[in-house]
C-alpha cells in the first residue's frame, strides 16, 4: 500500500541528533537572555515585550523541532495552533475583564491567615 510506504518515509523525515543539539543550544541561549533581561535595570521599560518575544521563540522552537510540528504537516499543527489561539484569547480577555473589575472593589476585611 502506498499509504503504508508513506508512513515509513514519514519516520525518516524526523531530524537527527545534530538538529536537536543545535535547537538545544538556541534554547539555552534564549533562556540566558531572558534571565539577563530580568536583571538588567535599563531594560525594565521594555521588559514585557522582550520577555514575551524570547519565550515565544523558545516555545516555537520546542514545538516545531522537538514536537515535530515542522515535519508532521498542517493537520497536527492545526490541531495544536487553534487551541493555542483560543487559550491566548482567553487569557488576555480574562485579564482585561478583571482589570475593569479591579476599579470597583469593595473595601476588604482581611480574615486572618495573611
Amino acid at each position: 500500500m502506498s499509504d503504508a510506504a508513506e508512513a515509513h518515509i514519514e519516520q525518516v523525515h524526523h531530524p537527527g541528533a545534530t538538529t536537536y543539539l543545535i535547537v538545544a543550544a538556541f534554547l539555552v541561549v534564549l533562556t540566558a537572555m531572558e534571565v539577563t533581561v530580568f536583571y538588567v535595570h535599563a531594560l525594565r521599560p521594555v521588559l514585557v515585550p522582550l520577555l514575551l518575544i524570547l519565550s515565544a521563540a523558545k516555545f516555537a522552537l520546542v514545538a516545531m523541532f522537538y514536537m515535530h510540528l515542522r515535519y508532521d504537516g498542517t493537520l497536527v499543527s492545526g490541531i495544536f495552533i487553534f487551541p493555542l489561539a483560543i487559550a491566548t484569547f482567553l487569557l488576555i480577555t480574562l485579564v482585561l475583564l478583571f482589570g475593569y473589575l479591579s476599579h470597583h472593589l469593595a473595601p476588604i476585611i482581611n480574615l486572618g491567615g495573611g
Binding site: 500500500m1 499509504d3 503504508a4 508513506e6 508512513a7 515509513h8 514519514e10 519516520q11 524526523h14 537527527g16 541528533a17 536537536y20 535547537v23 538545544a24 539555552v28 533562556t31 534571565v35 533581561v37 530580568f38 521588559l47 520577555l51 514575551l52 519565550s55 523558545k58 516555545f59 520546542v62 514545538a63 522537538y66 514536537m67 508532521d72 504537516g73 493537520l75 497536527v76 490541531i79 495544536f80 487553534f82 487551541p83 493555542l84 483560543i86 487559550a87 484569547f89 482567553l90 487569557l91 480574562l94 485579564v95 475583564l97 478583571f98 482589570g99 475593569y100 473589575l101 479591579s102 470597583h104 472593589l105 469593595a106 476588604i108 476585611i109 482581611n110 480574615l111 491567615g113 495573611g114
Partner: protein, 824 residues
C-alpha cells in the same frame, strides 16, 4: 478457512448477540457502548423528568408546602445537572455519536475503542456519584451552575456539593476523553473517498462538537478544582474577604457553559440535517453553508460567554462586546433554519414520527433562537435574566431544539440500533402529546418572566398574578410526562413485539443504511468506496441527479446492497474485549469517594488501582506502540498514526487548561493581600530548573532518534537521562516549595500563594505523570520490549513531555520573570 489466523465467524449475525454479561462489561464495540450510554441516559431521563414534575407540583399554587425549600433546591439543581450531563450529552455524544460516527464515515470502530469504553464507565461512575447524596449529605442544592460563593463550605457545609464537584470532574474527564476519541476518529478514519465535503452533516456536527468539548471543558475543570480546593483544603479562590472574587467562577463556568450549549445544540442540528433530507427525498440544502455555519457558531461561541453575566457589572465596554458577538451567532443559526426549510421545500415527504419531530424542532427551536436575540441585547436581558423568561428561552432551545432532535434521532435510527421498528401509532401520539405538553409548559413562562417571576424560587406570593399560568404549566408538564411514558412504552413495545427492521427501512442516504439492522460487529465487511455526498443513495440510485430520482419515482426498487456474505473476513481485525476500562473507572470512583467521605485509605487504593490498570491497559495489546500504519484502519490519516493525532487533540485541550490556571494566577496576583508576593520567587534556582527541563527535552528527542535508528543502548541511556532530569526538576520544585513554606508562605496564606502553588503544582503533577510514563517505557526498553518498530511509544510520551516543557517556558516567563509586572 482453517489456515487463516482467527477469522471472525462469518455468520456472526449482529453486534447485540453473544458474550453474556461479561461481554457487555468488557465490550469495546462502539455500538454496544452506545447502547450502554442510551440505557443509562434513559434511566436518568426518567429521574430528571420526575424531578421536573415535582418542581411543577410545588409551583401549582402560592405558598405551597408540598416540598420544603431545601428539597425544591435539590430538585432543580439535580434536574438541570441530570438533564445536561447525564441525559442530553450522553444521548447525543455517547449514544448517537458513538453509534453513528464509524457507520457514517465508513469505519469499523472508533480510533480508540478502549478509551471509548473508559469514557462510558467513567460517565456512569459520575452519574452515580452525583446521586450518592441520597445516602449521605443530601443532594446537591446550589443550582446546576453552582455559583460561588454560595458553594463555599461556609455557606454549604454538607457533603451535598462535594458529590457534585467530584461527580462533575469525573463526568468532564469522561467527556474530554470521548471528544479526543471522536475527533481523532473523524479526522483519520474516514473511508476512502469520504472527504470532509462528503461526510454526513451529523459528522460535521460531531467533529466541531468534539473541538468545542476539548476547548470548553478545561475551564470548568479548573473552576471545579478551585472549588474543590476551597472546600477541602481551605484555599480562598472564591472568597471575597480574602481579595478573591466569586465572579471568577462565573467566568470559568460560562467559558465552559456557553460552548456547552452548542455542545448540545450542534449534534441536534446534525440529526435534523440527516432526518429532514431522508424523509424529504432531497439532498440537504446548502451543504457547504451548513458546514461553515456549524464552524462559525462554534468559533463565535467562545466569545459570548459574558452574555450570561450582563447583570454582574462587567462595564459598558464588555457588555457591548458580548452583546454584539452574541447577536452574530444568530446569523449562522438563521442560515441553518432557512436551509432546513429549503431542504423540505419541493420534497416528496414521508410523514413518519421521526420527520414530525424534526419538523417541529425547526419551529420550536426558532422560537428559542429569537428569544435568544432578546437576551443578546444586554439592557433587555437585565429585565429577563434569572426570570422565567430565560427558563422559557433555554427550554425552547434545549427541549424544543435539542430534545426534539434527540427524539427525531431515536425514531430515525432505532431500527438500525435494535433491528426493530417503533410503533408509528404510539409514536404519533407521543409526538402530539410532546408538542402540546411542551408548549403548554414552557410558552407561558415567557409571560411569567415578563411579569416578574424570578427563577429558582420554591414559593411565591398570591397577589402577584402568577398563579393561573403556573397551574397551566403544571398541567402541561404532566401532559409531557404522559408523552414520555408513551415513549418508554414504545421502546418496550418495539423490543418485544416490534416488526423486524430491514437494513434500509427509510430508503436512507448515508452509509449506516447499507449494513444490516442491527449491524454486524465489524460494521463493513469491505470498507466502502465513497463516490460523493449521500454515499449510500449514490450506491443505490447512481448520482443524486435525475436518474436517481427517476428510478425512485418509477417505484424501482433500489439496487440491493452488496452481498455481505460470503465475504472473506480474514482481513478484519477487531480488537479483543478489555476489562481495564471498567477497572480504571472503579479506581477513579474510589478516589472520589474516599476524598468525600474523608477515608484516605480508599483514595490510596483507588489511586493504585487506577494507575496500575492504566499501565496494564498500555501493555494489553501485543502491538502497542508499533508504528505500522495500516490504511485499512486509518484510511484518511494522511500517514500520521491515529494515536499521534489523539495525543495532539488532548494537548490542545491542555492548552486551555493551563491558560485558565495562568489567567487566574495573573488576576489574583494583583488582588492578593499582604506578604508574601511575587518578590519571594527566586530566579537563579528557577533558571536552573528551566535549564534542566529544557535539557530533558533534548534527551527525550535523542532517545527518540536512537530508537528510530534502532540503537537500543542509547535508547535506554537517553530515556534514563530524561527520567533523571525530570526527577531533578521535581526535586528542585520540592526544595522551592519547602523553602517558601519556611519563609511563611503556606498554601492558603493569601491569593498569591494559593494560585502560585496551584498553577506550579499542577505543572509539577504533569511532570510527575511524565516521569512515571517514561519510567514505564524505560522498564520496557530495558526488558527489550521497545525497539525500532515501537518508536511511536516513545514519540507519544515525548510529545507529552515536550508539551509540559513548553508550558514551563510560559510559566517561567509569565510567573517568574514578570514578577514585578501587575495585571491591568
Amino acid at each position: 478457512m482453517a489456515a487463516q489466523p482467527k477469522p471472525l465467524p462469518i455468520f456472526q449475525p449482529n453486534y447485540l448477540e453473544g458474550g453474556g454479561l461479561l461481554g457487555w462489561l468488557t465490550t469495546i464495540d462502539h455500538k454496544r457502548i452506545a447502547v450502554l450510554y442510551m440505557a443509562t441516559a434513559l434511566v436518568f431521563m426518567a429521574i430528571g423528568g420526575i424531578e421536573a414534575m415535582l418542581i411543577r407540583v410545588q409551583l401549582w399554587e402560592p405558598n405551597n408546602t408540598f416540598l420544603s425549600a431545601g428539597t425544591y433546591n435539590e430538585l432543580f439543581t439535580m434536574h438541570g445537572t441530570t438533564m445536561i450531563f447525564l441525559v442530553v450529552m450522553p444521548l447525543l455524544i455517547g449514544f448517537f455519536g458513538n453509534f453513528m460516527i464509524p457507520l457514517h464515515i465508513g469505519a469499523r470502530d472508533v480510533a480508540f475503542p478502549r478509551l471509548n469504553a473508559l469514557s462510558f464507565w467513567m460517565a456512569l461512575v459520575a452519574g452515580i456519584t452525583l446521586h450518592l447524596g441520597w445516602i449521605r449529605g443530601g443532594l446537591p442544592d446550589a443550582g446546576w451552575f453552582g455559583y460561588a460563593n454560595l458553594t463555599e463550605r461556609y455557606f454549604s457545609p454538607t457533603l451535598a456539593l462535594d458529590w457534585w464537584v467530584v461527580g462533575l470532574l469525573i463526568s468532564g474527564t469522561s467527556t474530554i476523553l470521548s471528544a479526543v476519541n471522536f475527533l481523532t476518529t473523524i479526522i483519520t478514519m474516514r473511508a476512502p473517498g469520504m472527504s470532509y465535503m462528503r461526510i454526513p452533516m451529523f459528522m460535521w456536527a460531531m467533529m466541531i462538537t468534539s473541538i468545542l468539548i476539548l476547548l470548553a471543558f478545561p475551564p470548568l475543570t479548573v473552576g471545579l478544582i478551585f472549588l474543590l480546593l476551597d472546600r477541602f483544603f481551605g484555599t480562598h479562590f472564591y472568597v471575597a474577604t480574602a481579595g478573591a472574587t466569586p465572579i471568577l467562577w462565573q467566568h470559568l463556568f460560562w467559558l465552559f457553559g456557553h460552548p456547552e450549549v452548542y455542545v448540545m445544540a450542534l449534534p441536534g442540528f446534525g440529526i435534523i440535517s440527516e432526518v429532514l433530507p431522508a424523509f424529504s427525498r432531497k439532498p440537504l440544502f446548502g451543504y457547504p453553508m451548513m458546514a461553515y455555519s456549524i464552524v462559525l457558531i462554534a468559533f463565535l461561541s467562545y466569545g459570548v460567554w459574558g452574555h450570561h453575566m450582563f447583570a454582574t457589572g462587567m462595564g459598558p465596554v464588555a457588555d457591548s462586546a458580548f452583546a454584539i458577538t452574541s447577536m452574530l451567532i444568530a446569523i449562522p443559526t438563521g442560515i441553518k433554519v432557512f436551509s432546513w426549510i429549503a431542504t423540505v421545500w419541493g420534497g416528496s415527504l414521508r410523514m413518519t414520527t421521526a420527520f414530525y419531530f424534526a419538523l417541529a424542532m425547526v419551529l420550536e427551536f426558532t422560537i428559542g433562537g429569537l428569544s435568544g436575540v432578546m437576551h443578546a441585547s444586554a439592557p433587555v436581558d437585565l429585565q429577563q435574566t434569572d426570570s422565567y423568561f430565560v427558563v422559557a428561552h433555554f427550554h425552547y432551545v434545549l427541549f424544543g431544539g435539542v430534545m426534539f432532535a434527540i427524539l427525531a434521532g431515536f425514531y430515525y435510527w432505532w431500527p438500525k440500533v435494535t433491528g426493530r421498528l417503533f410503533s408509528e401509532s404510539i409514536g404519533k401520539w407521543h409526538f402530539w402529546l410532546t408538542v402540546i405538553g411542551f408548549n403548554v409548559t414552557f410558552f407561558p413562562m415567557h409571560f411569567l418572566g415578563m411579569w416578574g417571576m424570578p427563577r429558582r424560587i420554591y414559593t411565591y406570593a398570591p397577589d402577584l398574578g402568577w398563579t393561573g399560568l403556573n397551574q397551566l404549566e403544571t398541567v402541561g408538564a404532566f401532559v409531557l410526562g404522559v408523552a414520555f411514558l408513551l415513549f418508554y412504552i414504545n421502546i418496550y413495545w418495539s423490543l418485544r413485539y416490534g416488526e423486524k427492521a430491514p437494513a434500509d427501512p427509510w430508503d436512507g442516504r448515508s452509509l449506516e443504511w447499507s449494513v444490516a439492522s442491527p449491524p454486524p460487529v465489524y460494521n463493513f465487511a469491505l470498507l466502502p468506496n465513497v463516490r460523493g455526498r449521500d454515499a449510500w443513495w449514490i450506491l443505490k440510485y447512481g448520482r443524486a441527479g435525475s436518474r436517481g430520482v427517476a428510478a425512485y419515482v418509477a417505484g424501482q426498487p433500489p439496487k440491493p446492497p452488496e452481498p455481505e456474505a460470503p465475504v472473506d473476513l480474514s482481513h478484519v481485525h477487531m480488537p479483543p474485549p478489555s476489562i481495564f476500562p471498567l477497572v480504571v473507572s472503579l479506581g477513579v470512583g474510589l478516589m472520589g469517594l474516599g476524598l468525600i467521605v474523608g477515608w484516605y485509605r480508599i483514595i490510596l487504593i483507588g489511586g493504585i488501582v487506577t494507575i496500575m490498570s492504566i499501565i496494564g491497559m498500555g501493555f494489553e495489546y501485543k502491538d502497542y506502540g508499533q508504528a505500522v500504519h495500516d490504511p485499512e484502519h486509518a484510511p484518511s490519516s494522511g500517514g500520521i498514526d491515529v494515536r499521534k493525532v489523539g495525543v495532539w487533540c488532548f494537548l490542545g485541550s491542555e492548552c486551555v487548561f493551563f491558560a485558565s490556571l495562568i489567567s487566574t494566577f495573573i488576576v489574583y496576583k494583583s488582588r492578593s493581600i499582604g506578604a508574601p508576593g511575587a518578590e519571594i520567587l527566586e530566579i537563579p534556582l528557577t533558571s536552573f530548573s528551566t535549564f534542566i527541563l529544557l535539557m530533558s527535552s533534548l534527551l527525550m528527542v535523542l532517545a527518540l532518534a536512537a530508537t528510530q535508528r534502532g540503537d537500543k543502548v542509547w535508547e535506554r541511556i537517553w530515556l534514563a537521562g530524561t527520567v533523571f532530569f525530570g526527577l531533578i526538576f521535581l526535586s528542585g520544585q520540592a526544595y522551592e516549595f519547602t523553602h517558601f513554606y519556611h519563609e511563611g508562605m503556606g498554601y492558603t496564606t493569601n491569593l498569591f500563594s494559593q494560585s502560585f502553588y496551584t498553577l506550579v503544582g499542577f505543572h509539577g503533577a504533569h511532570v510527575a505523570i511524565g516521569v512515571l510514563w517514561l519510567s514505564v517505557l524505560l522498564v520496557a526498553a530495558i526488558t527489550g520490549r521497545l525497539g525500532k518498530s515501537r518508536a511511536l511509544s516513545i514519540e507519544l510520551a515525548g510529545l507529552y513531555w515536550h508539551f509540559v516543557d513548553v508550558v514551563w517556558i510560559v510559566i517561567f516567563t509569565l510567573v517568574y520573570l514578570m514578577q514585578t509586572v501587575h495585571g491591568a
